[in-house]
């Protein structure tokens, strides 16, 4: 148990720190790398929650595909200078930070109040069938995915096709990176 606890705290710490770093790093490349770090630690968290398949997908899709995309685009831009990393204006900045702070406070508060206070265990609130996780994850997952959620799956297929066609079209459209005229 202690290993689990330690693992959680460790991963949580990494996630938060790298997450913060994404936002705080002035150089976007560093941000991107930190984001990759976050992704990986989130994948690890998935593992602690016994979502092994998802952890794999997370690594492949995010850390692999998405991150590469980000870095590539950043390279493409070849930004020499980042004049101002953060928004200027104290009032709005303070307002933004305050609203984010309050929001996180609210969420944390709601979660903790909702789940732990008032003498109820989290199990009661989360409508739990059997706490402790899904046994045969990948199988259950694939059944759920291809039988129950087949429509969503197909729709996602359409979505991806659309994205593909769309982004290509965009790049080839008038004034795009690959415009013919």
């Amino acid at each position: 148990m202690t290993a689990d606890v330690f693992l959680f705290w460790f991963l949580a710490l990494i996630t938060v720190i790298s997450g913060l770093a994404v936002v705080l790093m002035a150089n976007p490349i560093y941000s991107a790398l930190c984001l990759a770090m976050t992704m990986i630690s989130v994948a690890a968290i998935f593992v602690t929650l016994q979502a092994y398949f998802l952890a794999g997908v997370q690594i492949i899709v995010y850390a692999g595909a998405v991150m590469v995309l980000f870095v590539m685009v950043l390279m493409l831009f070849d930004l020499k200078h980042e004049l101002q990393a953060f928004t200027r204006g104290r009032a709005t900045g303070a307002l933004k930070i305050a609203s984010v702070g309050i929001l996180s406070g609210l969420i944390v508060g709601a979660v903790t109040i909702g789940l732990t206070i008032a003498g109820r265990s989290s199990d009661e609130v989360i409508s739990a069938a059997a706490a402790g996780g899904v046994v045969d994850t990948t199988r259950g997952l694939s059944e759920a995915l291809f039988l129950k959620n087949i429509f969503g799956f197909e729709a996602l297929g359409v979505l991806l096709l659309v994205i593909a066609v769309g982004t290509v079209a965009l790049s080839r459209s008038k004034g795009g990176t690959h415009a013919r005229d």
Partner: protein, 647 residues
């Protein structure tokens, strides 16, 4: 002939005349226009006479011919017929109106023949006669009011007849608006009476009038009659609404004779006499009427002393004489008031026509300082004017004497009377004698001050005939109402007048108690005083203005500022415009500027500005920065969640 048909013809004849002339108002054929108009009025006159004779045939209590042509307004309990009634009072009035009216029409043919608008003029005159007949015949206050306003309208049109002159047009407007003030009160008076008695029929009102006099100032009858009286002050040019009448002299002179001397201006007195049953139970109103009448009589007479415009003098004289009549009805001498109304109609019409003749002869010159010695050139005019003069200053046995005397006696003796009222009356008579003599002297007698370029000439017969007829009437007109004290002496000539009016006039008891003989003596002595004083006054004036050159100026100088004040008509017009009219107009401008433009519209603009300001504010929030937008989303989420959670 059917009496209703007679009334219809009586009314319609001038109306038809109006239309006949009205449709061809641009014609300058004065003969045709004049004939149509005069014949129309003559037909009416004949009808009046026939109606009068019909009336005479009836027993005294039943002397009332009514004609209901149609229901005019009928709403709920308020039912007014187009109903007309000829009774003792109105029959006299229609005789005066159509009779004097016909003469004046005749006179006008001569007087107006050179005017381009002659046809229009006659159309207006006929319209006036029509309205005046409605006024006197209407059997309810509302039908009377129709005529009441109608004559006001005609007066407006005729005063402003020469509309190219701004002042004349303004005079017409002034007349109408001043009258309207009275009319407004009249309307209220009608409401009070209708709410009290449930009818506006004058006959019924007289019947329904309570038998016990009202002592309260706020009683329905007192208030109602007071309001009607205010209406009358407008129409009959009494204080404080008399100001329009002198200005009304801007109209053609025959108009002044017909409307502003003989007929229309007497409508107020006529109305009060018609409703005598009602007025008599409102002693407070009566008192006010008497005081106002007396005051007007004196004040107008004093102004008359100082005027130099021949028509203005006559106008103030008219105001003064009307004051007399109000004094009469105010002291309960309704018969005397009517009597004076009639005699005044004769001699004042005569004098106005005479002045018209003079003006005509003098080529539109009205300033008496530029006349003098006209006796030579205008013998007939002078002669007739002379008779009129005698009548108005109350010399026996001319018409004015009897009526004026009756009024003074009643002012003294009636229970509503007072010695001060009598004194005022006498003072008025003295002043009248003075300024009328002054007028005579300056115009006809003494040396000629006529401009060399003007060659006065006697008027044509068309104009002199009416003068003569009226002169005769001015002489004999009074003989129908010879007071008892005199008739006893000269052979018991019955007082036709009193006899005739008796059934429709409610009498007040006389105050002076005691033996019959004492009363007779008193009456004789009072009569003597007034006639004597008037005669002295006339003589003084005669001497001052014919014999002693410059005496008048000395007197004027002696009075100094008082003279100036009187000459300027007590500055009443100026006071009105400074105190009422100008503030009203300036105030209205400010009202418009401040309330409409600066308050209401500004408020509207403020609202729109507020909305627009909101719009600009929202616009300023829309900075284009997407993080700003994201912040709004964040704030929205935070606020919503806080609210949802903090329940």
């Amino acid at each position: 002939m059917n009496q209703q048909a007679l009334i219809a013809i009586l009314l319609l004849s001038p109306l038809i005349g109006f239309f006949l002339n009205g449709v061809r108002f641009r014609s300058t054929n004065y003969v045709l226009a004049g004939s149509i108009a005069t014949i129309a009025v003559l037909i009416s006159f004949i009808c009046s006479v026939l109606l009068f004779l019909n009336l005479v045939d009836l027993p005294p209590e039943a002397r009332r011919i009514t004609a209901n042509f149609f229901e005019w307004i009928a709403v709920d309990k308020f039912k007014i017929n187009a109903g007309f009634a000829v009774d003792q009072i109105s029959s006299i009035m229609i005789l005066i109106i159509t009779g004097v009216g016909a003469l004046i029409h005749l006179f006008s043919i001569g007087y107006m023949h050179h005017d381009k608008g002659v046809t229009k003029y006659f159309a207006y005159l006929n319209l006036f006669i029509f309205n005046m007949l409605i006024l006197v015949l209407g059997d309810s206050l509302l039908t009377m009011f129709v005529g009441w306003e109608g004559v006001g309208l005609c007066s407006y049109l005729l005063i402003g007849f020469w509309f190219n002159d701004s002042a004349k047009a303004a005079a017409g407007m002034k007349a109408f608006i001043t009258n309207r003030i009275g009319d407004a009160a009249f309307i209220i008076g009608m409401f009070i009476l209708f709410m009290t008695f449930g009818t506006l029929n004058m006959h019924e009102l007289n019947m329904l009038a309570p038998t016990i006099a009202e002592s309260s100032w706020l009683g329905a009858v007192t208030l109602g009659t007071m309001m009607l009286f205010i209406g009358a002050t407008g129409k009959s040019a009494q204080i404080p609404l008399y100001v329009w009448l002198p200005d009304a002299m801007a109209g053609p002179t025959p108009v002044s004779a017909l409307i502003h001397a003989a007929t229309m201006v007497t409508a107020g007195i006529y109305m009060i006499v018609r409703l005598n049953g009602l007025f008599i139970v409102a002693p407070n109103t009566m008192m006010v009427i008497a005081i106002v009448g007396a005051a007007t009589a004196v004040m107008a007479a004093t102004i008359g002393l100082t005027q130099f415009d021949i028509k203005k003098v006559l106008a103030y004289s008219t105001v003064s004489q009307l004051g007399y009549m109000f004094l009469a009805v105010g002291v309960g001498a309704f018969g005397a008031g009517m009597f004076h109304l009639m005699t005044h109609a004769f001699f004042k019409a005569l004098m106005f026509l005479g002045s018209g003749s003079v003006i005509h002869a003098m080529h539109e010159e009205q300033d008496i300082r530029k006349m003098g010695g006209l006796r030579k050139y205008l013998p007939i005019t002078h002669a007739t004017f002379f008779l009129g003069w005698l009548a108005i200053i109350g010399m026996p046995p001319f018409a004015g004497f009897f009526s004026k005397d009756e009024i003074l006696w009643k002012a003294f003796s009636s229970s509503q009377g007072h010695i001060l009222l009598w004194a005022a009356g006498v003072l008025g008579a003295v002043l009248t004698a003075f300024y009328m003599t002054r007028l005579m002297a300056l115009t006809f007698w003494g040396k000629s001050r006529v401009d060399k370029s003007v060659h006065p000439h006697e008027s044509p017969w068309l104009m002199t005939v009416p003068l003569i007829v009226l002169a005769i009437l001015s002489v004999v007109g009074g003989w129908v109402g010879i007071p008892h004290v005199i008739s006893e002496q000269i052979g018991h000539i019955p007082n036709f007048w009193e006899h005739w009016l008796e059934p429709v006039i409610r009498k007040l008891p006389t105050v002076v108690e005691g033996a019959h003989h004492d009363e007779t003596m008193l009456e004789w002595s009072l009569m003597g005083i007034s006639v004597g004083l008037a005669a002295i006054s006339a003589l003084t004036a005669y001497i001052m203005y014919t014999k002693k050159e410059g005496a008048s100026d000395k007197v004027a100088k002696a009075f100094g500022p008082v003279y100036q004040l009187v000459n300027k008509k007590y500055l009443v017009d100026e006071a009105y415009s400074a105190g009422i009219i100008n503030p009203l107009i300036e105030g209205s401008k400010n009202l418009w500027y401040y309330v409409d433009v600066n308050v209401i519209d500004k408020a509207t603009y403020k609202v729109t500005d507020l909305v627009r300001g909101g719009g600009s504010f929202v616009k300023s929030l829309q900075t284009g920065n997407m993080q700003q937008y994201a912040m709004y989303i964040g704030i929205g989420v935070v606020v919503a969640l806080s609210f949802v959670l903090m329940r």
